[in-house]
């Protein structure tokens, strides 16, 4: 130990450089794990209590669901589903925008349309067993 230079314990410019590097790595981890955000794979659309069908979220498309009031237009884009046109008066479902996460739903009460995010059909597992 005698041959080594004494440890001085005063901040060096390398400390600050390291802080900067770790800060950048921290910021980039936000983007790295963004992809992990749980996203449901399928949406289930039902009109007036009847299932219209399951639609995968990874394919962009537009679905028209006919209810008692008129046609509700649902758009799947970039892995998210949103109601882009509603025939009802308040258009609450249209205003709420896309639903991002699993277990959420968009419901248009006047037109009796329910859009739910489901996991891939036939593969419904919970968090513990997976």
């Amino acid at each position: 130990m005698a041959a080594e230079p004494p440890f001085r314990a005063t901040p060096t410019r390398w400390d600050i450089a390291l802080l900067a590097v770790l800060f950048l790595m921290t910021v980039s981890s936000i983007f790295a794990f963004h992809a992990l955000k749980p996203r449901g794979e399928t949406i289930l659309i039902s009109a007036n209590g009847k299932t219209l069908g399951f639609y995968p979220l990874d394919r962009d498309r537009i679905i028209r669901a006919v209810g008692p009031v008129g046609t509700t237009v649902i758009q799947i884009k970039n892995g998210q589903a949103a109601i882009i046109q509603a025939p009802c008066a308040h258009k609450l479902c249209q205003k709420m925008g896309p639903i991002p996460s699993r277990g959420r739903a968009m419901i248009c009460i006047p037109n009796r349309i329910v859009v739910e995010i489901k996991e891939k059909t036939g593969q419904q597992t919970d968090a513990i067993t997976r």
Binding site: E4, R8, A9, D15, L22, F33, L36
Partner: protein, 173 residues
């Protein structure tokens, strides 16, 4: 009991005495810190890492790891958290951080002060802990907390490192 009559070198007895004193000190800080209330329940400053850092220049890897092991086991037992999920996180994170700090101190050869060493330790501690938590509860979405914890570790790492710097220079906290 150790005594020179047992054929032990004075050096070994001195090391044993230092080990006991430092271990008691680390355990004390561990217990006091677990009594501290921070605004968010699972956040810790990690003040025990200050002890780890301060002994880096004077003691070997076995000694430092020994201090860590006895501190985390006895300390967790004293606050009633031994073998709880939180203990697994503290153990895994602490072990990784201790190894990272020893490694950084040895490899970089005086490039960093305790500030840099502490930043590495805090960062690694939080990184390992979040991955362990994600593994224990089998939820990859836990990893979404990682940026938050890593950001926090830069703050706690700086606090610990600057305190260690001051203590080492004999200036008090």
């Amino acid at each position: 009991m150790l005594s020179p009559d047992d054929g032990l070198a004075l050096k070994d007895i001195r090391t044993a005495a230092y080990f006991s004193l430092i271990a008691v000190f680390a355990i004390g800080i561990h217990v006091i810190e677990s009594l501290l209330t921070l605004p968010i329940p699972w956040l810790r400053i990690g003040l025990t890492h200050i002890v780890t850092m301060l002994i880096l220049p004077s003691f070997g890897m076995k000694f430092i790891l020994g201090i860590f092991l006895i501190r985390v086991i006895v300390g967790s037992a004293l606050v009633g958290k031994l073998f709880s999920p939180g203990f697994i996180l503290a153990f895994g994170g602490g072990l990784a951080a201790t190894l990272a700090m020893i490694g950084t101190f040895r490899i970089t050869d005086r490039v960093f002060s305790f500030w840099g060493i502490s930043l590495v330790g805090a960062w690694v501690h939080n990184l390992v802990q979040v991955f362990l938590a994600a593994w224990i509860i089998q939820q990859t979405s836990v990893l979404l907390l990682l940026p938050f914890f890593l950001g926090f570790s830069l703050v706690t790492g700086s606090i610990n490192g600057l305190i260690a710097n001051r203590l080492f220079r004999g200036k008090g906290v």
